[in-house]
Each structure stands twice: as structure tokens, then as C-alpha cells.
Symmetry: C2
Subunit: 345 residues, 2 copies
């Protein structure tokens, strides 16, 4: 490895890094419809009714999860959900996954059985098949790689790049709960560090814990949109936080956005935990990430149809690029949205 010039990765950021590394790749296959730069790659042919969707995620011990409090069964479940969420974010349905693991010596067959039990539960709930994977020793910690394959009708693909001025910005479920659940787990870990009989206090916070440990892939939303005949103009799943993910849509769609602080869906337990920790629940909602809800845009004319679906909040609208991406506070001030992931990478 030459050390003549050294640019730290942090100077580019995750998305800048991917753009830099992949800018010289040229697609050769006529079947590659869309590659790097969306939730999933889109593969098919002009003559085909259905496109394939392909997505891959990496989960690393010490970065994405902490095995001292994250049960392996939940981790297996969550890995499958994370993989499938990327397919759903293209408005498609997942059908198959592969799961690869790098396993450190501290884990036994029983541990891995727990991990796969969780993965199987998620596969059964989502109606998808585990079709492959790889196993390896790891000198460093547990490594999980999940690849999801899905399908979407050619006319229904929702890219990040399709948002248009005046489109409504919609969000499913609520935001920030997974992040506050992580904080609760971290607090109890600190409280019971080296304690022979840890009894963490989770009463009253079951919802935010579940959001961290057992997030749901919103297959129900993609199915409901299809049933109502709604094709989002753009869509992304909330993995890095609303601010970062909305900025991705703005970047890809070359547009701006205005979202309203008092319309952000935040659960009561998220507020309560934030209060206990002297944290700001809005920051958790904007930058916490790991919600795996769907953020999407629809034309203004779809407002009633979207409202009929239930469980979806309209939090703002798309604006011209020149106006930037703004959070509007209840007193009417505009705060520029910033992509500062505070959750896990």
C-alpha cells in the first residue's frame, strides 16, 4: 500500500466515497437498468414486464451491533429486514435472500443457530426464501452480509430520482424510536457493566426497544400502495435518518424540500426516553436512523388516496432545487437540513 498521498475517508463521507470509487465503472450489459446509487440495482430488459431488484448490506460487530446486549436471534431477524427494506424502498417485493457470516471463535454452533432462527422467522413473515450464503472464520468479530433479490413491475419502480416540484413528502410509521431504543440499551449496559446479575430496566419502553431490536420491513405499505394504484414518484427507506435520506432524494431528484417539524411522527415512548436522557426527540427523528420506514413522494393529486391508506403522514412537499431542503419550525423559521447520521454507520 503506497502512502505517498493519504486522503482520509471521512473527508468524502459515505456517499461521496461511493461516487468517487465507482465513477469510472461503465455498465456493459443491456440488462443493467440502474446500478450504483439507489436502494437497489434494477436489472431487466426493455421487453420484460418485471424488473429484478438486487441489494446488499454489510453488518459488522462493533459498528452496527453490540453482542453484549443485542440478542443473536434478533440480529438474524434484523439482518433479513434490513436487506428486504432496500427492495421495498424501490416499490418492489423481496423474494430471495442470501446470508453470509464471518464467525469469530467466541461463537458456538448454538449461537449461530439462534442467529438463523431469527433469520428464519423474518423469512417466514416476509414470505421469502434463503437461497445461499457463505460461512468463514473471522479473526475479528461477527460479520454479516445480506443480499436481497426482489421483483417490481417495470412501470412501478420508485427510484430516488423521480421527485418533482409540489410532490407531497410522505413517511410511514414513526421516527427516532429505534435510536432512542439504542440509547436505552447503551444506558443499561453502562449501568450493569461488570455486574454479576444484570437486571436492566426496560418497563414502559417496550416499543422503542422493539423498534431497535426487531424493526419491521414495510411490505404491507408496498402492497397497500399497489392495491390503491399509487406509484410513488420517489422512495427511499429510512436507514440513516430522515434528514440524510430526504437529502438523498433531493440530490438524486435535483430538487429541494420543505418539511414541517410539527408534522414529524414521533411516538410517545420516543418523547419520554428523550426527556429522561435530556435529549431532543426531533434530533432523534431527523438523524437517528434505523427506522426502516419508507419515505416517499407522490403527486399532489394523490393526497386523498394516501390519506385513505392510514398510517402515513404527509410531512411536507418538494420545492425547486434553489430553495434547498428545509425544516420549518412551528414559529415559521427555516432550518437547513443536514445529513449528520448520529446513529450507527
Amino acid at each position: 500500500m503506497s502512502e505517498n498521498t493519504r486522503t482520509e475517508i471521512a473527508t468524502l463521507g459515505q456517499f461521496g466515497l461511493i461516487e468517487h470509487l465507482t465513477k469510472d465503472f461503465r455498465n456493459a450489459s443491456p440488462r443493467t437498468v440502474a446500478g450504483v446509487g439507489d436502494d437497489a440495482a434494477v436489472i431487466g430488459g426493455a421487453d420484460q414486464e418485471q424488473y429484478l431488484l438486487l441489494s446488499t448490506d454489510l453488518l459488522l460487530e462493533g459498528i452496527h451491533f453490540d453482542l453484549t446486549y443485542f440478542p443473536l436471534k434478533h440480529l438474524g431477524y434484523k439482518a433479513v429486514v434490513i436487506g428486504c427494506s432496500d427492495i421495498l424502498a424501490m416499490n418492489g417485493l423481496p423474494e430471495q435472500i442470501t446470508l453470509s457470516i464471518g464467525v469469530s471463535a467466541k461463537l458456538s454452533v448454538e449461537h449461530l443457530t439462534e442467529l438463523y432462527d431469527g433469520a428464519r422467522a423474518a423469512c417466514e413473515e416476509l414470505g421469502i426464501d434463503l437461497v445461499g450464503g457463505d460461512t468463514s472464520a473471522s479473526v475479528t468479530g461477527l460479520v454479516i452480509s445480506v443480499t436481497a433479490l426482489g421483483r417490481v413491475p417495470r412501470t412501478a419502480v420508485a427510484y430516488r430520482s423521480g421527485a418533482r416540484e409540489n410532490d407531497l413528502i410522505c413517511i410511514t410509521g414513526d421516527l427516532g424510536a429505534a435510536y432512542m431504543g439504542l440509547h436505552l440499551l447503551e444506558r443499561e449496559k453502562r449501568a450493569y457493566k461488570d455486574h454479576p446479575d444484570p437486571r436492566p430496566k426496560f418497563e414502559g419502553y417496550e416499543y422503542i426497544l422493539r423498534r431497535q431490536l426487531k424493526p419491521q420491513a414495510r411490505k404491507d405499505v408496498v402492497e397497500a400502495l399497489a392495491a390503491e394504484g399509487i406509484v410513488p414518484t420517489s422512495m427511499i427507506d429510512i436507514s440513516d435518518g430522515l434528514a440524510s435520506d430526504l437529502l438523498q432524494i433531493c440530490h438524486s431528484s435535483k430538487c429541494g424540500a420543505r418539511i414541517y417539524l410539527d408534522r414529524l411522527p414521533i411516538a410517545k415512548q420516543t418523547y419520554d426516553m428523550a426527556e429522561e436522557l435530556h435529549a431532543d426527540p426531533v434530533v432523534a427523528a431527523l438523524n437517528g436512523g434505523e427506522d426502516h420506514e419508507l419515505l416517499f413522494t407522490v403527486p399532489l393529486a394523490m393526497q386523498e388516496k394516501v390519506a385513505r391508506l392510514g398510517g402515513i403522514d404527509i410531512i411536507g412537499h418538494i420545492t425547486p432545487r434553489s430553495t434547498g431542503a428545509m425544516l420549518v419550525t412551528p414559529d415559521g423559521s427555516d432550518i437547513p437540513l443536514q445529513a449528520q447520521g448520529i446513529g450507527q454507520a
Copy 2:
């Protein structure tokens, strides 16, 4: 993590482990033709002319590669080759890959650019598209996950399970060179440990070095087989070593095998290096792995057609299961083949 019972992973072995972990998964999608247990998953529908192939591999620093002597450009190249080799081993052609990386702080943007330059070179040579991936920080070392997607005519899929009695056992290229190349690199690393100006001696060993650092995916062979109208009855790529990979075919096809020691293709530099290191070149060929050559079987009647292709050695034939898998020495003794990977996991 409960510690009531603890079974070490080594007691099951890599293939036993995968079987154990995936035995309770049930495939739900009618499009899942074949899942876990072959080089790649096979996805399609009975009405389709072409099946999809999906495969994934994990490469971990400290297990699969050592960055002190493995140039990042070669590593990127090799990652793509490893992914594509699994698609070729199903008699299919790779079309798209995704590449995910977990990056430790010691690596800079320049390092990753080298890695991706190598990956791009392999993509261009193989005519495939990079369509996605994930990047993450890693607290532990470089993690690479590669997923390959390919296609194969429905009537040409080569599973591990199709070998039949009297089929000829064929191997492309030569064996053991990648393993001896690894040994050479390890020897020079030891010789120049803490040396301010390392000058490793590689003269005369360019071939085995290249086999370790820049293995080739045998797309040419799959294309040549198709051009000659040969559909192998079974196929696998040599990643764990001839013995282990042939035993996989025997296991899946419920058959035995006889291969002849004096027919194993071993390059001169592999012999030379083995002699220098007082090692057995046959052990390298049988158990070294990482050759990424194709091991396949064809009906006896195909003998002349296979010979016409060139660069393929017929090393033995398939026998009834009851006779086991044997290596026949020049003096006529039978030695049972054993799956003891001695190379990298």
C-alpha cells in the same frame, strides 16, 4: 448469548455447519429452483428460457488475505473473480456484481481507489457490471462481500448433483499453483519482517504468484463448452481444493470417484516451489484450493469433444457410491480422498 451448551463450530465443519443452520428453512417462492448447497442459487420459472444465478462470498482480512503482501488492486480483481467463478461453476455467465466493503481506519481513499481499480479491471475483462454495494466503517479489518448475478439457459444448468456412474472427471488448467504462490509470499514476508527495504525474491516464480494474486475466472471454458454443445452433468469451481470439491460432487450426486495421481495437472513452477519448500506438490493440488479452475463431469461419450477443447485434463471417472472417492497412485494403490482444506478458509 446463552452458554448452557456449547458446540464448537469446528466439530461440524463448514459444510456441516451450513446444512445444520439451514435445515429448517422452507422455500416458499415458486421461482426458487435451487437454494443453499451449490455454487450459486438458481432462480426462475418453469416457463422461462433463462434461469438467474445468485452467489455471494465473504473475504476477510486475516483469514482470506494479508494486506502486508497482497496488493489492494489485486485484491479487488480477485474478489470479482471469486464471485464470478461461482456463476461459471453452474455453467452460467456472470452479468452483474455488487461489492460491499467494511473499511478500517488504516485505509485511505487512495487505498480504496486501488481496490476498485482492480475490481474494475476484472469487470471489464469479464464484461460484467458493478451495480451496487455498501460501505461501512470496520473496527476490525478490511471486509469484502461480493455478490454475483448471472444467467444460464434452463437446459444447461450444471448442478453439483448430476454426476452419474462412468462419467469422466475433467479439470481445467492446473492445480496447486495458487497455494504454492501463497507459500512463497508468506516465506518472503517472514524473510523481510521488520526489514526497512524489503526486496522479496520472486524471479522464476511469476506464474505461481499470478495464480495467487490474479486468478482467472474461466469464462472461456463455459463459452467453449456451450460452443461445443457440451452440458456438464455436474460442475464446481476449485476453491477449497480438488479433494474437498470433488467430495462435494460425490456427496451431492450420491456417487464415488476414482482419480489418477499421475493425471493431475500440476505446473512446473508448482513442482519447483514445492521442492524448494520440501513440500508435496500433490498435496498442494489436492488440498491447496483457490485455483478457481472448473471441475466437471461429462458422459463417457463426450470424451473426444472434451479433448478437442484443449486445456482440459480427464483425471478419472465417477464410480458407485459404495466404492468411495479414491486417489489411485502410479503403483495402483487406492488412497481415500479427504477434505482437508490446508489453504485459506
